[in-house]
């Protein structure tokens, strides 16, 4: 009986394979080469980073995806890739938003991490740290706002996300960065898309998963390019890449420990983002084409033309249209009075988009939110500028 020949790496046909990449078994070395090559091609062809000395602002959170992004950006800039040493003549700066101020408030065992050694010494990239509370005139207002928001439904996480977004875009524009790079891989983008859809952000279908999306900053009409160069990769690709290239530990703070029992007992500790991550991850295991089917569908979808294109001052997204009253209210008289009151008595109710309204529902001191009381001056300025 003929013995089956042991399978070899599909690319080099020499080494034993270690991982499956898009149905092909590849060895460690070829895998790293694939990731580096894919990253360069993404930047050049999909993200249109072609000009010499083009400035790229890489957003780093300390998580696995952004760590991989910083490592790859560093290799490409310093020509330290394992394969193909061709250099990209771009300027990469790394921006990290330090959330210790709010994390310490909600997670008792939280330990702040110092990434200076990794970014500055190991990756040799300029590193800027901005404290999340620095955007607020009174930082304790931020904590108060988070406490006022609902524990459930990712309201607090969404609020933090939009504050960070304001900081990133403002920093990018003030420092002349036209390109802002995020580290989400394809699987995370698909999960994020589903999460946004579940919160009512249908318009995100046209932008949230693109390699390269143009964003007009409403304050001064400056154009920013939002980039996702790791879109081609899956979770397992990132994990394996980091295992081979990095010695960093990724502390796993126990999420949900600080929540009330009612919320803790909900699916995914009441966190919509985590629920959708789990959903996509589970489907991806059973149906390997899930991620790329979702991303490909999102690319082809078209959005209904809007009567007017104006932005929400909180999330900076374009305000979507409500096609039926029942999307926003019920006819049981339980929320109509409140909606009418807020509409008549607050300054910015009509400027807040559908999804941000959902984020604010069940919040305490709603009037303060809709009057942007205590909010960063930047956000108030944007709200006053928007029609």
């Amino acid at each position: 009986m003929q013995q089956k020949e042991p399978k070899l790496c599909k690319k080099c046909k020499t080494n034993n394979p270690n991982i499956i990449v898009q149905k092909d078994p590849v060895c460690k070395e070829c895998f790293i080469g694939y990731v580096e090559h894919m990253f360069k091609m993404s930047l050049r062809l999909k993200c249109n980073i072609t000009q010499k000395n083009e400035k790229l602002l890489v957003c780093f959170s300390g998580g696995q995806n952004s760590t991989a992004l910083v490592k790859l950006a560093s290799d490409v800039v310093h020509s330290t890739c394992a394969h193909n040493k061709s250099k990209m003549f771009i300027e990469v700066h790394v921006l990290y938003i330090n959330e210790s101020f709010i994390m310490k408030e909600f997670i008792q065992e939280y330990q702040p991490q110092d990434y200076t050694n990794f970014v500055t010494n190991e990756c040799k990239l300029p590193f800027q740290i901005v404290d999340i509370q620095s955007i607020y005139p009174d930082p304790y207002i931020l904590l108060q706002q988070l406490h006022n928001l609902s524990e459930s439904g990712s309201s607090r996480e969404d609020f933090v996300r939009l504050i960070k977004q304001h900081i990133i875009y403002d920093y990018a524009i003030k420092n002349g960065y036209q390109n802002v790079c995020f580290g989400q891989n394809g699987q995370r983008l698909a999960a994020d898309l589903f999460s946004q859809l579940s919160k009512g952000r249908g318009l995100s279908l046209q932008s949230a998963t693109k390699y390269n999306f143009s964003f007009i900053y409403p304050l001064n009409q400056n154009k920013l390019q939002i980039l996702h160069p790791l879109k081609e990769l899956l979770n397992k690709d990132i994990l394996y890449y980091l295992r081979l290239k990095s010695n960093l530990n990724f502390p796993n703070f126990i999420l949900g420990q600080h929540l009330s029992n009612i919320v803790k007992n909900k699916p995914a500790h009441g966190n919509i983002d985590h629920l959708l991550e789990q959903f996509i991850d589970k489907l991806q295991e059973g149906f390997p084409s899930t991620t790329f089917t979702v991303l490909s569908s999102a690319e082809k979808v078209t959005i209904k033309p809007l009567q007017q294109q104006s932005h929400c001052p909180l999330c900076l997204e374009i305000r979507d249209q409500v096609y039926n009253r029942l999307e926003v209210e019920t006819l049981d008289n339980s929320n109509q009075q409140l909606i009418n009151y807020l509409r008549a008595n607050t300054k910015y109710y009509n400027k807040i988009c559908f999804t941000c309204n959902r984020m604010l529902q069940s919040a305490q001191e709603l009037e303060n939110f809709y009057n942007l009381k205590g909010f960063p001056p930047l956000i108030v300025q944007i709200a006053d500028t928007i029609q």
Binding site: L197, I272, V294, S297, T302, L331, D332
Partner: protein, 322 residues
Amino acid sequence: MVKYCQSCNTQKAFMVRPKTGNLICQNCFFQAFEDEIHHTIISTQMFQPGEKIAIGASGGKDSTVLVHVITLLNKKYNYGLHLYLLSIDEGIKGYRDDSLETVKQNQITYELELKILSYKELFNWSMDEVVAQIGLNNNCTYCGVFRRQALDRGAIQLGVDKIITGHNADDMAETFLMNLLRGDIFRLPKSTAIITGDDGDNGIATLPRCKPFKYTYEKEIVMYAHYKKLIYFSTECTYSPNAFRGHVRELIKNLEAIRPSAVIDLIHSCEQLDAPHQNQKLPQKQLCQKCNLLSSNKICKACTLLESLNQGRAKQILQIQE
């Protein structure tokens, strides 16, 4: 401590409303439930006075509540509609044969004309026979395609203007996510359309299908049926456990548990989508060369599936003879 209804602030609360998470009394719940369906019908100009409407009735909770509410609203607000019951017998023993008894009961209760069509008489195949042939993979595809055509045929025989079905908000949200997961971008914008089939391309008349329960939660339909003491048949289809929709259904339930408005939020997201661009190749609507019903190909999906089934049966007969 007594908890009061958050709508009227007068009566004692008797339940938490699934759509809002607010406390509500029985009267306010029934009122809101019916008012919201009435608003859905009026705001979308779903019906015209004098129209003949076939209600897709399976005997399940959705169609039973649909029959009850439409009959009630038709009288209360003078829609001027002529209502008929249309039932499809897929031929699933222990499931459909039992639920049809419920439909017959509804016929008597609401004094409506009832038409029952079966897969066996239309296609010469019952679902039990289909599953025996193809197994438990893709059987929902066969059933869905056949049911669509069966409803059309039944509606033509009744001479109605529109069909209404009990598809609720949860169903629509599930369909939206499923179409996104399967990459079906042509169906994506129509996933939550309240009236489908009324576009009449190429001069080919199609029977519009309407979904008055578009903004109605499945849980609320169950509660309405329960507290109104409506009789319905509640068992899952024998062949559905392996359906892909089960994954999405579980997701929707979990989302609802976290944030009650998530189902409506998904519908709102889908409403932002437009039909595919004109430069994207769209299937052209035409009439099937075999059965003369609406199709996007020369031979419609139902006839294609039937052919594959009949070929399988022909192969079996030949094998037995050998």
